[in-house]
Structure formats: structure tokens, C-alpha cells
Symmetry: C3
Subunit: 143 residues, 3 copies
């Protein structure tokens, strides 16, 4: 029910597509109906769900975030990566996606990205799949 | 436990109040205690929870987002709606709200909005209600 | 399984560290494996998860948000706190964090903050802990 995805990010700022790894974790869970929770236990990376058909969409997202939170603006944090901390809190470090018929139920154009803002480095995404087995209507708890 | 809300957005950018439809879905679920999950399976729309008493609050939110992510800035995505993709990832496409005493337990001033950034069009919100029936303390699992 | 945390914010804009209170709520729940849901039932405050080791990180987050959404820009909302509403929707009012081995499973550098944008005032955070007891693989439901 709980799995860890490892992601090696390739640049300081990039959106790494982890859709396939999340789909695989959902399948391995054996859960047919429920919710898939994704959690990034880092403070300079987050989760983005957006279009993964045109690679220009991730690029546009990163470029706009860089315009809004420039790496070289005046910050106090001594490590020089304050912009990465701020970007992580703008996009968020968790997501919760429906699971239906044993599959991750993303929208047609949606992909899941680890949003790296201070790479390259190895990141972890914690995946938890909650079944709907306890839902009254599913009636699966038996006698 | 799972329902779909259909929303017809009326402008390119607007916050459509879906609070009533979400409340109704929670009631129909028959679940007394738990959490209500909302998911937007689109890449140019999101979910916002904010004040729905003064219609100027949704307008201010949209106007500020437009100032931060202008439709006519320089983007690469060929479809001309890059700003909508970026705004969706800033507000997020999912929410999770407490359910208590059979009702959606929003704060006094909170309403739920489908945040449209590339309308007008028909949108879907997937509603999943998770019961607390399995929680040990509720004592509902019987001897 | 459900608790309320009270937070007295000390300034108009501040990040109040509530990590200890959330950890305590998770321990009191007695739940070993699951997810901890945090919900802010307000419209001018939110939840931020970020570094709580260097207090400059929360300061940088607040300052950048103020640069992006200035309190004195032109807004329509008559109460004079439109910026606070907008900031709340940028950071979000809910979070969902793994619980493992009876403890809140934050990342090493992560802390949880009530993000106050229109204080000082007393705020509430609703904490719901969902157990994994119902998950098939945990096998805890017995014959």
C-alpha cells in the first residue's frame, strides 16, 4: 500500500515525469477503487500535475516560476536556494489522485511530475494507496 | 462514494461556485464522518477554496493571477493557453475537506470553486467521500 | 481521530510552526500507519510545509508572497485584506502527510506551519488521522 519512488533529477530546475512509476505502484497495490497519495519529503521540490504531451508546458511552468521567484533576488536564507523553497510551497508537496478500476485515474492530458527546484539530485516520492474497501457501498467486507 | 459534478464555465477565466453540488454529493454518500476529496481531471482548471460571500474576492484572485501569469507573456506552448496551465498548477487541482455530522465541514466563510482558466467549457470534478467507519475510535466495526 | 489545534498568530503575516502539535495529535490517535490530514477552515490563512531549521526560510517565503501579492495593490474586496485571501489560495488550506510507525512521517527538514496572512488572531487547524487498518495488506482485520 506504501511504496517509494526514487527520482534522479537532471537539472537545477526541471519537471521529471513520474507518471509511469506512479501507475506501476498503483497496479502493484492491487487496489481497484480508492485514492493514490503522493508525498515529497523535501523542502526544495514539489509535485505538479499538468500536461505531459507537449514538453513546452513543463518548460513554461518552470520559466514562469523563475520569473516570479528569481534565484538572484534578495533573500535571507544562507544556503542560496531560498527561491527553491518558495517555489516548492507554491506548487505544493503532496497530491491525491483517484484510483478507478485498478488504475490511476488521471485526466486524459494529465501527467505527474516531481518538480525539482534545487537539483540535480536524488529525490524520493512516498506513494500511499488508500482502498475503498471500507466504503459501505462497495460491500466488500463480507460476513 | 464517488460522484461526478459537471460544471459549465461561463468565461475564459472565472471561479464557478460548486459548493452546493459538493454538499449534495456528501449528503447522498450517507457518510457521517470522514473526508471529501475533489479532483479536477483537467490541465487548465483547478480548485480554489475561498470566500464566496463577497463576489469581489473571486474577482481579485483571478485578477492577481492574471497579473502574475499574463496571457500574453512569452510562452512556448503552441496552443496559446500556457498561462492557463501555469495558473492551474499554482492553485492546484485537488482538495480534501472534512465531513462531520453528515455535512461538508467547510469554514464559515469558505466556498468551493472550480477555477476555470481556459473556458468557457464543460468541466468535470470527481468527488470521492472517504468514511471514517474504519477508524478504531468510532467503534462501528462491532464485535 | 479528529482533533483541533488552536494557534494564536502573532503578526499580520507569519508562519506559525505547529509541527509539535500535529505530532502530538498523531500520537494521541494511536494510529500506526496511515495519513494525517490538516485543514484550515479560514479564507485568509493556509498551510505551508517547508524548512523550519533556519527561520530565514519562513521569512523569505512571506516576503516573496508579499512582493507577488502586495497588500496595497488595487483590489475590489471592501475589507482591505484581498491580498490575504489570494495568498491563502496560492499556498492552499489543506495538507496530507504520511504517518508511519505511529509518527508523523515528515521529511528530515520539513516542518508544518499555519500560514497567517491577516493576523494577529486565533486560528483553528482541523486534524484528521486516517488509519491504514482497512488496507488489505496490513492483515489486521482478523478472521
Amino acid at each position: 500500500m506504501r511504496a517509494q519512488i526514487r527520482v534522479q533529477s537532471r537539472q537545477r530546475e526541471c519537471l521529471e515525469d513520474i507518471t509511469g512509476q506512479v501507475r506501476e505502484a498503483v497496479r502493484r497495490s492491487g487496489i481497484a477503487e480508492g485514492l493514490c497519495h503522493l508525498y515529497v519529503p523535501h523542502t526544495t521540490a514539489g509535485i505538479v500535475i499538468n500536461e505531459n504531451a507537449d514538453p513546452d508546458v513543463p518548460r513554461d511552468i518552470l520559466e514562469r516560476l523563475r520569473a516570479l521567484v528569481p534565484p538572484d533576488a534578495s533573500y535571507r536564507h544562507y544556503e542560496g536556494n531560498a527561491d527553491a523553497h518558495i517555489k516548492a510551497s507554491l506548487v505544493g508537496q503532496w497530491a491525491l489522485v483517484p484510483v478507478a478500476a485498478g488504475e490511476l485515474a488521471l485526466g486524459r492530458w494529465q501527467g505527474i511530475f516531481l518538480a525539482e527546484f534545487d537539483g540535480p539530485r536524488e529525490r524520493t516520492v512516498v506513494v500511499t494507496v488508500l482502498p475503498s474497501a471500507a466504503w459501505p457501498q462497495t460491500g466488500g467486507e463480507g460476513p
